[in-house]
C-alpha cells in the first residue's frame, strides 16, 4: 500500500535549495539542506528557518468551544486569556496519549489548536467525535490552508522585528499577536521546539513561500539558514522536548512522560482524568529521563535499558547532541532508577554500554520566560 506523500507550500523552495527530501509522517519533508550539525549550530548561534507547515491546525468556535477543549485536553483552558498559548495533551480514557498540542485563545469564544503532522487525521476524528455532545462548538480543520514557519535562534527577534509591522519584542513567551511579516498576514507566536528564543509564524498557505523568501533575504546578514527535520530533532533532543511517536504515544501517559505540569484535574472533567488521577495517586511506575552515554556509543529509539543485568526500561530518542558534544538520549526507566546520577546500561548491538541519568535540559534553554 502506498499513499502519495503530502507536500507543504514550501516544497519547491526546499527542492530548489538542494534539500534532501524524505518521507515523514505522510509528508515529503526536507531532512537536511547542508548538513544536520551545521544547521543545528546555525539555529543555536544565529537564526534558523523551519518549515513546519505540515503540522495541523484546527479551530473551534462558539459558546461551547471552551467546554469542548476542557473535555478534550488535560490542561486548564479556562486559565487562557485572549492572546495566550498553552501546551497541553489529548488523552484516551485510559490516560495514554492521543497527541500533544498547543492551544491558542484567538478570541473570547474562538480557539486554535496545533497538532502533530502525522496525527492530523486521527486527531480530527478524535476531537470531533469526542465533543459531539457539546452544543455550540463548531470545528474547522484549517490545516490545508495554513502554512507555518518557525524562526528560531538568538537573532530571531531582530529578524522578525525588522519585517513586522508591529513591535514583536512585546510578545511574551507563549503569547501571540497578529501582524504582517514581510507584508504577509501572520499570527506571530512566541513559541518553538528548539530551546532558543524565537517565533512560529502562521500564514495563509498561498502566502507562505513569500514569507519564507522574505525571511531568507532579510536574514542573510544575520546568517539565517533553512533547517531540516534532522536538526529540528537534535535541537529538541537537547531540550528533552518530547516527540510524539518516539517518546510519547498511545502506550505512554503524560505523568510518566514528565508532562504532569500540564495535567490539571482540579479544572473538572476531561477525557482520561480518572485514569490519570489513579496513576498519580499510585505513583508512576516509570519516568522519562535524560541519559548520557558514559561509554562511547549512540543510544537509539527502542534500545533496551538494563541495570545489573535486569531490563529496567527503554530508550525513546537518542543521538549525538552537537551543542553539548555528547551522546545523549531520552529513556523510560523504573521510577526508583530515575534519579540524576543513576548508573545504567544501554544494550547496543548485544553489548551493555554504560550510561547515566543526567539533569535536563541537556543544553540550557534560552527561551524568553517572563520575569
Amino acid at each position: 500500500m502506498s499513499t502519495p506523500l503530502r507536500r507543504t507550500p514550501l516544497y519547491h523552495e526546499h527542492v530548489a535549495a538542494g534539500a534532501r527530501m524524505v518521507p515523514f509522517g505522510g509528508w515529503e519533508m526536507p531532512v537536511q539542506y547542508t548538513g544536520i550539525i551545521e544547521e543545528h549550530r546555525a539555529a543555536r548561534s544565529a537564526v534558523g528557518l523551519f518549515d513546519v507547515s505540515h503540522m495541523g491546525e484546527f479551530e473551534v468556535e462558539g459558546p461551547g468551544a471552551l467546554a469542548a477543549l476542557q473535555h478534550l485536553t488535560t490542561n486548564d483552558v479556562a486559565a487562557l486569556q485572549v492572546g495566550q498559548i498553552q501546551y497541553s495533551v489529548l488523552c484516551y480514557p485510559n490516560g495514554t496519549i492521543v497527541d500533544d498540542l498547543t492551544v491558542y485563545r484567538m478570541d473570547d469564544a474562538r480557539y486554535m489548536i496545533t497538532v502533530n503532522a502525522g496525527n492530523i487525521d486521527k486527531d480530527w476524528a478524535h476531537v470531533t467525535k469526542s465533543t459531539e455532545h457539546i452544543k455550540d462548538a463548531r470545528w474547522r480543520n484549517a490545516s490545508e490552508g495554513t502554512g507555518l514557519i518557525a524562526v528560531q535562534g538568538p537573532k530571531a527577534e531582530a529578524l522578525v522585528g525588522r519585517l513586522a509591522d508591529r513591535d514583536v519584542t512585546a510578545i511574551g513567551y507563549y503569547r501571540f499577536a497578529r501582524g504582517t511579516v514581510g507584508e504577509v498576514p501572520t499570527v506571530i507566536s512566541r513559541t518553538g521546539y528548539t530551546g532558543e528564543d524565537g517565533f512560529e509564524l502562521y500564514a495563509p498557505a498561498d502566502r507562505t513561500a513569500r514569507l519564507w523568501k522574505a525571511l531568507l533575504a532579510e536574514g542573510r546578514a544575520d546568517g539565517v539558514a533553512p533547517i531540516g527535520l534532522g536538526a529540528r530533532d537534535t535541537l529538541r533532543l537537547e531540550m528533552k522536548y518530547a516527540l510524539y511517536g518516539n517518546d510519547i504515544d498511545d502506550t505512554t501517559n503524560p505523568l510518566e512522560a514528565g508532562l504532569g505540569w500540564g495535567v490539571k484535574p482540579a479544572k473538572g472533567e476531561f477525557i482520561g482524568r480518572e485514569a490519570l488521577e489513579k496513576i498519580r495517586a499510585e505513583g508512576v511506575r516509570r519516568r522519562l529521563v535524560g541519559i548520557e552515554m558514559v561509554d562511547k556509543a549512540v543510544a537509539r529509539h527502542g534500545y533496551p535499558v538494563h541495570k545489573d543485568g535486569r531490563a529496567v526500561g527503554i530508550v525513546t530518542s537518542g543521538s549525538y547532541g552537537p551543542s553539548v558534544d555528547r551522546y545523549i538520549g531520552i529513556a523510560y526507566v523504573e521510577t526508583a532508577l530515575a534519579a540524576v546520577g543513576t548508573a545504567l546500561e544501554v544494550e547496543i548491538r548485544g553489548q551493555g554500554k554504560a550510561a547515566q541519568v543526567v539533569r535536563t535540559p541537556f543544553y540550557p534553554s534560552k527561551v524568553k520566560k517572563p520575569g
Binding site: 544536520i36 550539525i37 537534535t234 556509543a297 549512540v298 549525538y320 548491538r349
Partner: protein, 130 residues
C-alpha cells in the same frame, strides 16, 4: 556524481578497498558518506580481529541512522584508524584519505577480483546504488 577514484575497488555496500603491497586498506566511499550525512560515531574491530568478505565488521553512525560496514575481503585486521574515535567527521571530510577505517592482511587473494572496479561501481551508482 560522487567521486570514484580509478585506483580503488568497491563493494555494493559502498566500501572501497585499496591494494597496498600485500595489504588492503578499507573505507567508505564519497557517495556513502554523502548519503549518511554527518558521521558522529564509528565502531571498528580491534587489531588482530578477523574479518570476512561481505560480512559486517563494524558500524558507522550518522546523526540520524546506524549503518553496518561490510568487509571487502577476508583476513586479519593489522591496522585500525583510531583517529576516527575522536574525529568521526573525518569520514565525511576525507573518505578516501584520512577517513580510512582498516588495513587488512587478506587471507584469500581470489576475493580481490570479486570486487567492483571503479567503472562497475559508477554504473551501480547510476542505477541507484542499492
Amino acid at each position: 556524481m560522487a567521486n570514484v577514484p580509478r585506483d580503488l575497488k568497491y563493494t555494493r555496500e559502498h566500501e572501497w578497498a585499496k591494494q597496498e603491497g600485500d595489504r588492503v586498506r578499507v573505507g567508505i566511499t564519497a557517495y556513502a558518506q554523502e548519503q549518511l550525512g554527518d558521521v558522529v560515531f564509528v565502531e571498528l574491530p580491534k587489531v588482530g580481529a578477523k574479518v570476512t568478505a561481505s560480512k559486517n565488521f563494524g558500524v558507522v553512525e550518522s546523526v540520524k541512522a546506524v549503518s553496518d560496514l561490510f568487509a571487502p575481503v577476508s583476513g586479519e585486521v593489522v591496522e585500525v584508524n583510531a583517529e576516527l574515535g575522536q574525529k568521526p567527521e573525518t569520514v565525511n571530510q576525507d573518505p578516501y584519505g584520512k577517513g580510512w577505517m582498516l588495513v587488512v592482511k587478506p587471507s584469500n587473494k581470489g576475493e580481490w577480483d570479486q570486487l567492483l572496479t571503479a567503472q562497475q561501481y559508477e554504473e551501480f551508482l547510476a542505477q541507484g546504488g542499492h
